[in-house]
């Protein structure tokens, strides 16, 4: 059994660590690319959102590498993601791929359904080992998130352009290379030393922008066209509203790990504008925008894939949030048609606007 799971940013590092610790053979699909997207677009429903198209492409590319079991997360709505696994499986089957499908989702009848699926994937390892594996994966996710956060801090402040990105890649390699839980702390330490060696100008004034929106678009650099790097290059410190480890802690561990940022505050802040959850991260998008405004950020960028339903609800509410809190917001919608030049132009215009606003604000003050 060779397991494949779709890409979502650096999530592959964490799941690969977990499964390989449990002696499961894993096929990591090639990083999402134009080719992946083209494959997906060709066979997916036209109005499905970009994540589905990329997932499909990932599975097709992984099949060439010998993967035979696809593992997907599921859900029970109202966001479409909950049904993706089955639609993708139907498409792949019609195309002649011989995939076995395992969907990890909240069980419909009994918790045994889910546990049975985990047992199936892990090849009947002891629960103790499974739990250790999950913890290992989680710690990797945490390390990767910390590295990314550091990189977001360094990028707008680096003395020589490009050093942060090179350091981040080297640091990630250290984390990826740690193949047992025992080796992880040392690898983590080395990785942070690499990040610390990036020369930065701590006093340089920077703009701060919060990224909100749909989780896949935020986490997957291919879909958001490396927006964090692009903004960093323009002298902007970026804060992403969702990090993988936070999401895992909240949705899979149900907040078991303490002292982690949780979306609870965001959801409370959103109530004034949006009175009910709408699936996906719609409510969090609205709430985080309010939070960023309160924390004195200079602007907020919302990212969503075309036809994403929860985010459209949020999108239609953001203008009101922006008027009432005074924080400038911009919505970026991505799909297979998005071009890089268009994105860069809009980012530059938005950053210019924020810089100008900040300057006049300081003059007036």
């Amino acid at each position: 059994m060779k397991i494949v799971y779709p890409h979502m940013g650096y999530m592959w590092i964490c799941i690969k660590a977990m499964l390989e610790y449990l002696d499961v053979e894993v096929v990591v699909p090639p990083p999402s690319s134009k080719k992946t997207l083209l494959l997906g677009v060709k066979h997916a429903p036209e109005f499905a959102c970009m994540p589905l198209k990329l997932n499909l492409g990932n599975f097709m590319e992984a099949a060439e590498l010998g993967a035979d079991t696809m593992v997907m997360a599921g859900g029970c709505g109202p966001c479409r993601f909950g049904y993706y696994a089955h639609v993708e499986h139907a498409i792949l089957r019609d195309l002649g791929y011989q995939y076995q499908l395992v969907v990890l989702e909240p069980p419909q009848k009994h918790i045994g359904e889910l546990l049975g699926k985990i047992k199936h994937i892990t090849g009947h390892q002891s629960w103790r080992k499974v739990i250790n594996g999950i913890r290992f994966g989680y710690h990797k996710a945490e390390a990767v998130d910390e590295l990314e956060k550091t990189a977001n801090y360094c990028r707008p402040r680096e003395i020589k352009p490009g050093t942060t990105d090179r350091a981040l890649q080297a640091a990630l390699k250290e984390v990826i290379a740690a193949d047992t839980p025992e080796k992880l702390p040392a690898a983590r330490k080395r990785a942070f030393e690499i990040m610390r060696s990036v020369p930065v100008d701590r006093l340089r004034p920077v703009l701060r922008i919060g990224l909100v929106g749909e989780i896949y678009t935020l986490l997957e650099p291919f879909t958001n066209q490396d927006i964090e790097r692009k903004l960093g290059g323009m002298g902007v410190e970026v804060d992403r509203s969702i990090y993988l480890s936070e999401w895992i802690n909240e949705h899979l561990f149900l907040g078991l790990v303490k002292n982690k940022r949780s979306s609870k505050t965001a959801r409370e802040k959103a109530v004034k504008y949006l009175g009910h959850f709408v699936g996906g991260h719609g409510l969090e998008t609205v709430g985080n925008t309010v939070l960023y405004a309160e924390q004195g950020y200079d602007g907020v960028i919302q990212m969503l894939p075309f036809t994403c339903m929860p985010e459209i609800v949020a999108q239609s509410i953001l203008p009101r949030v922006s008027t009432e809190t005074g924080i400038p917001t911009m919505t970026l919608i991505v799909d297979e048609q998005s071009g890089e030049a268009g994105l860069v132009t809009r980012l530059e215009a938005f950053v210019d606007l924020l810089a100008r606003k900040k300057q006049t604000g300081e003059v007036l003050a």
Partner: protein
């Protein structure tokens, strides 16, 4: 002095209007339904909604705007769920907020939620909360609610007897017809005459009997939808898929039309499943139509005519084959 509650002729109006009207009238409240869709009404909606929203939502905003200055309240329930473990669509969950944050000077919205997601939940919560606006007497609310349920059920029975929503005393279906076409789509798309470009009437003029998901009892739809690998969590789409699967297997149905609105999330999934099912397990012609505010009438007419020709051609072919 009597107050007037406005009900937009959009979204789930087509399922629930007999219930809503009865409820308000029993409480001595006048109801005003927004006018039938026109180009102007839709344009107003388009201006107050983000571009990415789907056609039904833009249209519903137009209907709210149509009512805005003519009523004391607007009844805009937040319909979270109408069946256990199911939703309608994320946009329905946020619709009252989309309206409130985009339109100024609105009359008060009666936007209490209707949520039957959990076991043991009841529609009564919504009606009680709304009823409190107009009377302090809980018994009156309860009586009105009971009466409204009766209207709802008789509405269901009428539909199962072959009638379609918003058509009273319908005689079209009894006209001489040689083919039967199943129209599979969201009620707010296929029953709105403007948005569907009068598709149902057109089909009848071509000599077709029209059936929809609403003509089937709930249990049939659910049983058919069980053919899916996993239960769908959108009520309306489950109905659509169930109806499609049922009609694909009925000998008296000669063709199916699937109507989706541009950018509709659930439709993009279920449309795909229906198409794949059609290709694998059925010989019946299937026409997929996507509509949005830019759809031209000529394009629609051409497709419908071509489709009807094909259905008849296929029918003749089958008759010839049977006689051999």
């Amino acid at each position: 002095m009597s107050v007037t509650v406005g009900i937009p002729r959009a979204l789930l109006y087509y399922y629930y209007y007999p219930q809503w009207e009865t409820f308000f009238n029993r409480l001595g409240v006048k109801t005003l339904v927004s006018r039938e869709t026109t180009r102007g009404l839709l344009e107003k909606g388009l201006k107050s909604t983000v571009d990415e929203a789907c056609l039904p939502v833009k249209l519903a905003v137009g209907h709210v705007l149509d009512l805005k200055d003519r009523v004391d309240y607007i009844f805009l329930p937040r319909i979270v769920s109408t069946a256990r473990r199911e939703y309608i669509c994320p946009k329905f969950l946020g619709f009252p907020d989309m309206v409130r944050n985009n339109i100024d000077n609105l009359p008060p919205l009666l936007d209490y939620k209707m949520d039957l997601y959990r076991k043991g939940s009841s529609m009564y919560n919504l009606f009680y909360a709304v009823g409190r606006y107009f009377t302090r007497n809980p018994a009156r609310i309860y009586m009105a609610y009971q009466a409204s349920l009766k209207s709802l059920h008789s509405h269901y029975r009428d539909m199962e007897a072959g009638q379609l929503p918003v058509e009273t005393g319908d005689k079209h279906n009894r006209k001489e017809c040689d083919v039967t076409i199943a129209v599979i789509g969201h009620p707010y798309n296929i029953y709105d005459r403007y948005i569907s470009m009068n598709m149902l009437k057109r089909l009848r003029d071509y000599g077709a009997r029209v059936v929809t998901a609403d003509n089937l009892p709930e249990y049939v739809l659910r049983a058919e939808a069980e053919k899916l690998p996993k239960q769908l969590f959108w009520t309306l789409n489950q109905r659509m898929v169930g109806a499609a699967f049922y009609y694909f297997n009925r000998p008296e149905v000669d063709g199916l039309i699937h109507v989706a609105s541009f950018g509709c999330g659930p439709d993009s999934m279920t449309g795909e499943l229906i198409e794949r099912f059609a290709r694998r397990c059925s010989r019946k012609p299937l026409l997929s139509l996507t509509i949005d505010e830019h759809t031209g009438e000529a394009g629609m007419v051409t497709r419908l005519e071509a489709f009807m020709d094909m259905v008849r051609w296929r029918l003749n072919l089958d008759n010839v084959a049977a006689s051999l």
